[in-house]
Amino acid sequence: MKEDTIVCFENVSFSYPSGSLAIESLNVNLPKGKKIALLGGNGAGKSTLMLLLNGILKPSKGQLLYNGESYNYNAKALRTLRSNVGLLFPEPDYQLIAPTVYEEISFGLLNQVKEPEEIRKIIAKVLVDFSLVELKDRPPHQLSTGQKKRLCLAAVLAMEPELIVCDEPAANLDPMYADKIFNYLNTLNKKGKTILIATHDVNQAYEWADFIVILNEGKVLTSGGPETVFNCENTLKQANLKQPTIINIINSLGLDSVNVPRNIDGLNALLKGRLSK
């Protein structure tokens, strides 16, 4: 295992009680302090992998290492693990449990055995950071989807995990709220947190991530930097994915660029540069 790895999957397999094999002999190192995108078609094993990361599921075979130490599944070790690995679910309604926004944020913190006064200070800060002050007395079920998602993220991040795992963070969100969520994630990454998202959106993953893992039928098809991973069209097809639009345009136009742009602005600059020549 490399030193800059936060979580290492060593030959991990997982089967559900029904017998279906969700993860099969999976080996992958998740780099520390990076923005990681987990891609794959439906049923590829993305959600199972995320539950394995948080210790909700225990592998049937193999082991996971967190900062070089093997996962331990006793109650005390799980508490430490779950304090370090925050998990954001795609459906906010299944994650929100408290009667008010304020109390929702307090739930995880209180379970970390913190003093109520200390918790109140953290909540006050989180409410401001996530623009939830106006909503603090509201019941979560009354909020809009975007606000609910923001609250879920706030509730997880209040616990200050080292690794933040988000399953479809932008699902059911309009582009403005999706951008907001990714801006939060970027800010956290700049503070040194490792962020892992599961998504189907190859364009988002290409633009945002530093490291890509592509899953197919519970196995890692490929992993690495976005430029390398997304260049291999056949591998993407195998995982029911498409090439990101930017790479597609560059390939279609026959533009051979050393530094393939990662976003629309970069593509515009490249095209303008070529047209002016």
Partner: protein, 244 residues
């Protein structure tokens, strides 16, 4: 109409300590309950109705709608109390039953208004706080909070399923089929509830939760000055009780 659909989260007591809020409600409730004075009940109803408008900041139209449901039930109940029947005189209204009907009607409406004021100025968390203070077993309080959450989850699920069923003309296949379809709908809603519970448990575990629904509430400071308004409110009620 649900209380929550008219609840104003910017009411005047939003930053008040829960003990300050209860000074408005508890004495009013006790005074209305022990008094047999219909004029006082009428006064209490009017005063609390005004409080619902200006303290809970609920528009009059919504308040009227809110009061209309219990009003209807209480009115029908009390109206039947007015009539007496015997073999000699037949059906008639006696003085006693007339006064009894009026007394029960005014008392009930006054109590309902106190209850509405309580619900329109308290969140579920504050109500659960009172329950903890009254030493209600935590299991019941958790059940109370969970029921509150699941009512909305289930009603949303049921609404979406009903729309999906209507889109496939599930409600236009004759009476028997409609009944059968609604039966299936309810069974699906409950199955969905089970799935949601499972998901909720996973989400709670991910945030280090066990099966305890324990939260931290915001702290509101209180001083004697904060108590002035509710004390004046109660004094007004006591004066009315003594004078009327």
């Amino acid at each position: 109409m649900l209380i929550e659909s008219v609840y104003n989260y910017k009411h005047r007591l939003v930053d008040a300590h829960f003990l300050v809020k209860i000074v408005y409600v508890l004495p009013a409730f006790v005074l209305v309950l022990i008094s047999e004075n219909t004029a006082f009940h009428g006064f209490a109803f009017c005063l609390i109705f005004i409080a619902c408008k200006y303290i809970a900041k609920v528009p009059i139209f919504h308040l009227l709608k809110l009061f209309s449901v219990p009003f209807l039930f209480i009115f029908i109940g009390c109206f039947t109390l007015l009539f007496s029947f015997d073999k000699i005189h037949g059906i008639g209204i006696l003085d006693d039953s007339y006064f009894l009907g009026i007394a029960i009607f005014t008392k009930s409406m006054a109590l309902i208004s106190v209850m509405y004021f309580f619900l329109l100025t308290h969140t579920i968390s504050e109500i659960s706080k009172y329950m903890y203070a009254c030493k209600v077993p935590s299991l019941f309080i958790e059940l109370f909070v969970l029921t509150y959450k699941f009512i909305y989850l289930l009603s949303d699920t049921a609404k979406s399923m009903q729309i999906a069923q209507k889109c496939r003309m599930g409600d236009q296949q004759g009476y028997l089929n409609t009944v059968r379809n609604y039966g299936l709908l309810f069974s699906m809603v409950f199955r969905h509830a089970m799935l949601q519970t499972e998901q909720l448990e996973i989400a709670m575990s991910a945030r280090l939760g066990s099966n305890n629904f324990v939260f931290v509430q915001e702290k509101h400071a209180y001083s004697f000055m904060n108590l002035l308004a509710p004390i004046l409110f109660v004094l007004l009620l006591i004066t009315a009780l003594l004078l009327l």
